[in-house]
């Protein structure tokens, strides 16, 4: 083991002092201090928009700070590009991978380097990269093309890229957001093996349990300011961290009233559909949702969730199987037919699917009502009625906009989601399909959205909640289905997170139970 890793010889590899970073209208970082020791995992915790990524983008050379100093290995540095940062031993793994899909792992690792001189010598570099990968337990085939790899493997390539460039400090921006539980385990193992070999890691996250598990120390940011710096993780509890992050006590579980499930509203039988590339995305999905029930659909992103939502509302052709809503067959019926049966969709993509960005709040909320009295009058839309209706919704759902004539593209994520929820809920849906309804929202907005969904449940609506946030699924849902590669792996009613995790990586419920008995 590296001698620098002895606990009595603590060295700071990175110190950031008084970092200020402004964006138009926002002070993203206000006098932020940060330090990183050799061989530690330092978590940077905070809500969305707290300034975690901004701070680390400064360290990684993507942003230039408006004030403050960055000191790396006792030298003041002034990075003007990511390349400078990498040369100083600092590498960042972004949330969105920077990999060329059509090229091999080796090619991606070598991209932008001064080697090889001209010829690629691929076999030689394949061996070299496999060697480094083995050293840190990053299992990936150097000759494989990026598009053939799973998300977890792609992340390993990103890490390899930085290690190959000799990075001693690795910044991981919400690395677990895209991973399945087993892949998260693997990642944590890799991170530990890297710190054991003297590397330092900044772990950006807003997931408390992961921060508790992996990090040695934690720095909490709130609205661009450090609320507590460099706390040893052993000295805090999860509740402490939550309070530091949000600035108030947080209830982890939303209050959920008991509702007796009623009739089956949505019944899906052996549903099959293709994705945009024409490859099978749904391979025989069957599920039921009843009145007064929130049914969760868990799964790692890209296992057919978005295709399922689109198929259910009629946006994507059904190639096999049936979709039945309130005893009516809506398979391959027009979207409008589904809407008349009380189907409502809260899409994952708020700006492209959920709203028309350049239209006003009014135009966006009347999209399901424009042809009904009093707003619709024959050929015409009654603008006065429409505005009145929009103003009512603005009031009822607490949408923060100056006027209802404002274009929705100017709204924040939380307000935009309120616009969508206002429109969908006021259409009094029998079936609500909510895809990632709280993604990217801050804690306050998340609570609001979750309350609205539960209120719908109490009113007897059937809700299919598709989400990648396991905690949210477990706290809201009465039952959880797990989808993997377009097939339902099983159904859990008791919130057994172990089982869900195993199913998310492709083990069927029957197999898990058989193993349990054996």
């Amino acid at each position: 083991m590296d001698q620098t890793n002895k606990p009595n010889e603590i060295t700071n590899v990175v110190r950031m002092q008084g970092i200020v970073k402004r964006f138009p209208g926002v002070l993203a970082n206000n006098q932020v201090d940060f330090e990183l020791r050799r061989g530690e995992v330092h978590a940077l915790l905070g809500e969305n928009g707290a300034g975690k990524s901004t701070l680390m983008n400064v360290l990684a050379g993507l942003y230039r700070p408006d004030g403050g100093t960055v000191i790396v290995n006792d030298k003041v540095v002034n990075f003007s590009s990511p390349r400078d940062a990498i040369n100083a031993g600092i590498g960042m793994v972004h949330q969105h991978f920077m990999l060329v899909p059509s090229q091999s792992v080796t090619e991606n690792v070598l991209l932008g380097l001064d080697e090889p001189r001209f010829r690629m010598h691929l076999p030689r570099y394949n061996r070299k990269i496999a060697e480094i990968a083995g050293q840190y337990g990053l299992h990936v085939d150097p000759a494989a093309k990026i598009w053939q790899l799973s998300v977890g493997e792609q992340q390993r390539v990103e890490i390899l890229k930085m290690l190959y460039r000799g990075a001693d400090v690795l910044i991981m921006d919400e690395p677990t957001a895209v991973l399945a539980p087993s892949e998260i385990e693997e990642l944590f193992k890799t991170l530990r093996s890297m710190t054991a070999q003297g590397k330092s890691i900044v772990f950006i996250s807003h997931k408390l349990h992961e921060v508790m598990e992996i990090s040695d120390r934690v720095t909490v940011l709130q609205k661009g300011v450090v609320t507590s710096a460099c706390l040893p993780i052993s000295s805090v509890t999860r509740a402490d961290l939550a309070r530091l992050m949000v600035g108030r006590e947080v209830v982890f579980r939303v209050e959920k009233k008991h509702v007796e499930p009623g009739e089956v509203v949505l019944s899906v039988k052996d549903l099959q559909a293709d994705n945009d590339k024409g490859l099978p995305a749904l391979r025989g999905v069957s599920l039921d949702v009843r009145e007064g029930e929130v049914v969760g659909l868990a799964g790692v992103a890209g296992n057919g969730q978005s295709e399922l939502a689109e198929t259910l509302v009629g946006l994507r052709p059904v190639l096999g199987g049936k979709v039945i809503v309130n005893q009516k067959d809506v398979t391959n019926k027009p979207v409008k037919f589904g809407i008349r049966q009380g189907v409502s969709l809260i899409p994952a993509d708020r700006t492209q699917v959920g709203t028309a960005p350049n239209l006003s709040v009014t135009d966006n909320v009347i999209m399901k009502k424009y042809d009904q009295a009093p707003i619709g009058q024959g050929w015409m839309v009654n603008a006065l009625e429409a505005n009145k209706y929009a103003a009512e919704l603005k009031e009822a759902y607490d949408i923060m906009v100056p006027t209802v004539d404002t274009s929705v593209r100017l709204l924040s994520g939380g307000n935009l989601q309120k616009v969508i929820l206002a429109r969908e809920i006021s259409s009094e849906p029998k079936l609500m399909i909510a895809v990632q309804p709280t993604r990217g929202l801050d804690v306050g907005a998340i609570e609001g959205v979750q309350r609205l969904l539960l209120a719908q449940r109490a009113d007897g609506a059937a809700i299919l909640l598709i989400s990648e946030e396991l905690e949210e699924l477990l706290s809201l849902s009465d039952r959880v289905y797990v989808i993997y590669e377009g097939g339902i792996m099983g159904e859990v009613a008791d919130g057994d997170i172990e089982k869900i995790g195993q199913m998310m990586t492709g083990t069927r419920l029957e197999q898990i139970e058989m193993q349990g008995e054996a």
């Binding site: 920077m98 991209l111 001189r117 690629m120």
Partner: protein, 324 residues
């Protein structure tokens, strides 16, 4: 048999023009920039080559001038498409009008110089021409540009697929944000490869006017071959080796529809195409119609195999949109 060999041999010569233009456009598109101005740039090349050669009596100097001139013209498109981030289709079409007009104006009066201007040499490679059939087709009395083409195909393929600069070229056309994040300058690489594409188009034009069918005949000099080249890029799936297959096939096809009108008999029957003006027009249309057919088939196949098209083709690269 002789008739077939003659058509194939002259088809290879004609196809060489398409080969240069197509591979040039492959370089440009692999970097992510669609340049529809190939036809115009070829005309600039053909005109410049002819004019400079007429003035200096040195066809090699003409060739060099043609490449530089067409390369310079291509930078207009590069500026509009890369720096100003305008629509590449519109800009490419505009470049086409500009370049065509430019070459017609500057080429005024060159038509009468036919047979006075020296051309690039043609020769037979004695050893290789002994190979039965292939020797007659590929290595007998061909233009020096044809031979250069043979060497050029594998080199271009190797450069794109097996070298470091080639990997950088592919990465800026596939995922410029990734290349940018690793310190590769997307802008300068794209400018460079648009310039390479322009130079190759100029080379293709010069190959026509100085060698394959010497002379300057205004817009008829290229007669739409630049457009065929743009189509061949898709057929080639952005691969120089496939581009060669396509270019030579189209070259042979072009020769066939011209030469089939010559002989009085075909396979012992009276030749229905013998200087028949109606069939003549129909035949001249065939290569272009065939382009459409090949494009339809080729792009379906490319779709099915999920290969080929550079992912960032036609999209301007804007730094802020790297998703941070």
């Amino acid at each position: 048999m002789d008739f077939v060999l003659v058509i194939l041999a002259s088809g290879v010569a004609t196809g060489t023009v398409l080969l240069y233009a197509t591979v040039g456009e492959i370089f440009s598109e692999r970097s992510g920039v669609l340049n529809l101005g190939v036809e115009g740039m070829m005309l600039v090349g053909a005109m410049t080559a002819y004019k400079v050669t007429a003035a200096t009596s040195d066809p090699w100097l003409g060739l060099l001038a043609a490449m530089l001139a067409a390369g310079a013209v291509s930078q207009v498109h590069a500026f509009i498409a890369i720096t100003l981030q305008a629509d590449q289709v519109v800009s490419g079409l505009a470049l086409n009008f500009l370049a065509t007009g430019l070459s017609l104006v500057l080429g005024e009066g060159l038509t009468s110089l036919r047979d006075v201007v020296p051309t690039l040499p043609s020769f037979t490679i004695s050893l290789l021409s002994q190979i039965p059939w292939l020797g007659r087709i590929l290595f007998t009395k061909q233009s020096v540009m044809v031979y250069v083409g043979y060497i050029f195909i594998p080199l271009a393929w190797y450069y794109i697929n097996r070298t470091r600069p080639g990997m950088h070229l592919r990465s800026v056309g596939e995922y410029p944000a990734a290349a940018d994040s690793l310190g590769i300058s997307v802008f300068s690489l794209r400018y460079f490869y648009v310039f390479v594409g322009g130079m190759m188009a100029g080379l293709a034009g010069a190959t026509i006017s100085l060698s394959i069918s010497p002379g300057w005949f205004a817009a008829l000099t290229t007669a739409g071959q630049g457009w065929i080249a743009v189509g061949l890029v898709i057929f080639a799936q952005w691969n120089p080796a496939r581009a060669a297959v396509g270019a030579y096939t189209f070259g042979a096809l072009r020769r066939l529809v011209l030469d089939i009108q010559g002989p009085t008999t075909l396979l012992g029957f009276a030749n229905p195409f013998f200087y028949n003006p109606y069939y003549g027009f129909f035949l001249k249309m065939l290569p272009y119609a065939f382009t459409v057919v090949v494009l339809v088939i080729g792009s379906r196949e490319a779709n099915r195999k999920r290969i080929g098209t550079p992912a960032a083709l036609g999209l301007p690269y804007i730094r802020g949109q790297r998703g941070l």
